[in-house]
Symmetry: C2
Subunit: 353 residues, 2 copies
Amino acid sequence: MSLNQAKKTVTLADVARVAGISKTTASHALSGKGWVSAATRETVVRVASEMGFEVDPLARLLSNGRSEKTIGFFTLDIDLSSRTRQMQIIQAQLNDMGYSVPIYAYGYRGRDALENQLELMNNLLAQRPRAIVCNTSGVRDEVLERLQKFVDEGGVAVCYGYSRSAPVRCDQVIYAEGESHYLAARHLIELGHRDIGLFNVGYRKPAKPFLTEVQRALGEVGAQTREKWLFGNDGTRRYEEDGARLGDEFLALKSRPSAMIVANDYAAVAFMARVTRGGISIPENLSVVGHDDDAIAPFGVVALTTISSSIEAVTVSVIELLNSRLLRDYSGEPRLVTVRGELVVRDSTAAPR
Amino acid sequence: MSLNQAKKTVTLADVARVAGISKTTASHALSGKGWVSAATRETVVRVASEMGFEVDPLARLLSNGRSEKTIGFFTLDIDLSSRTRQMQIIQAQLNDMGYSVPIYAYGYRGRDALENQLELMNNLLAQRPRAIVCNTSGVRDEVLERLQKFVDEGGVAVCYGYSRSAPVRCDQVIYAEGESHYLAARHLIELGHRDIGLFNVGYRKPAKPFLTEVQRALGEVGAQTREKWLFGNDGTRRYEEDGARLGDEFLALKSRPSAMIVANDYAAVAFMARVTRGGISIPENLSVVGHDDDAIAPFGVVALTTISSSIEAVTVSVIELLNSRLLRDYSGEPRLVTVRGELVVRDSTAAPR
DNA sequence: CTGAAAGCGCTTACAG
DNA sequence: CTGAAAGCGCTTACAG
């Protein structure tokens, strides 16, 4: 709008003037701090509501420090998976506790260059929230350093993410990703599989904890992974599209593994559909295990065996850690909670051949 | 943290003192506004960075009005569907244009009581963003009134949502939901179906534009909907769960329709899986059409025929409307852009029997 | 119980 | 080119 017709909003001073008292008293009356006679308070409250007065949170913040009722949520990617559902649940719970919980996210996967991440964190920090919940998945160390500073200055932060604990001295809950993949591999091995392929989302090839844990499981029975059967992607597409591509690559294989571990249920469901239509029947010719136990898992071409990533448990822990700091004033050492996945057997896995 | 050891952060005044100049000049040097000698500017910039100075956005805001570089995103529900992908894309584009785009959402479906909605909007407004993008789906009029006030005060807002244009005098893009369902119904009717069932998410029964448009299509061939075949839900579960329940209800039906229009692809996919395992084959015994063309649509038990909700088109329009106001300083009358869905035929529909 | 005054950290006319 | 001063809208010792 070119004409900045900003209607003068009503301020505390206006209220005070109309009510015939000082700003100080008006402030006290409205906030409930300090002493004010019942009569005065009543007048002020009435006048304020008549005039449509609302305190400017900015001014309040500037004059008194931290924003007590807001908790910032930092996450790089809001994907269409249980992970986002998890964020929602955390947010909902905090809302119920009376906090405002704006989400600082940066578009979708593949856009989170360091510079963008830093800016995002700075924007969040600028709100001076009471606390910060940080999904550390994909977050760079430089960004976590800023978070560390926030903590050092007396802010409370709770981080959650995969495998490695983030380099921040704050409460954390981590999901033991490697162990989960180990579970998946063990399940397949016990069924008799030795030729196992891997697919990871967001990495060119299955990376660290995923790959090594599957190799460990395989090693226990004298088997190993094969380079040809290691798949990944660049993490910019949707899970289903990645899964379908994987299906194409799989169908093009000269020699195929008898089982696939696909690190995302949506990708796994799309993969199964593509491969089934390519003539492979699951689980007769191919076993598939997913990851996350997303809502879609039971409803694909065949009900998907998967690893529950304990969305629930992570959520509960995050809230609990936060509560102990916020409500119970706990101020001890940072705590680390580890959550494990569980195997959920459905119909997509069976003995090979 | 009980001991509020907040390290004194460095302020503009500190920088000015160390650089041996006034706050005014320091401010000018840093912001690039007003005249400052090159030498002074250089000194100030160096000192500032040495001291790790960063302007407090709050103070800046309080002293100069609106927050130029932030655009607030208001949406009630971040569901796990294309709708969220759409939000991400809009956010990403705005990020690329240099805006910070915090998301103000309120947990998940079913939690958005008026009171909560209002508070959410107030929190967003408190940021004094340059602009607001508002997904009006499910948003109450009282909340939109607040948004109207924002617009009246010179803020720019763009709303987008289903069917009805929101009661706000601002640019809007609406998705013609009713027409889309009409398309779905026509498609089925042309295939020969007369017995069509409906499922809507978030409503107890298929509501206004959905129901009436399907009835219109049916009316054109002298057919009509049947009360028994109208399904809905309360909108608090995940789409897949809703779809599975629908499947159970469908299987329990004494007489069944020959086709179902399911207003969400995830629900439709789960519905198909459940019903298929219950012995119904699609499309031989039952045709199904979904809605949204979500990423999952092609990958269920059978590839789903659906209506694309033109996520892309909505996104483009929202950005364009925003740009014309923000970049090109357009300040004319509010504009209304209508976007239509398109039928995407896949394998879940065929002639009945 | 009430109020004058200082202060939060910046920006911006306005006067040199 | 530079700076003293007022102001953004509130809160909070501190003094009545």
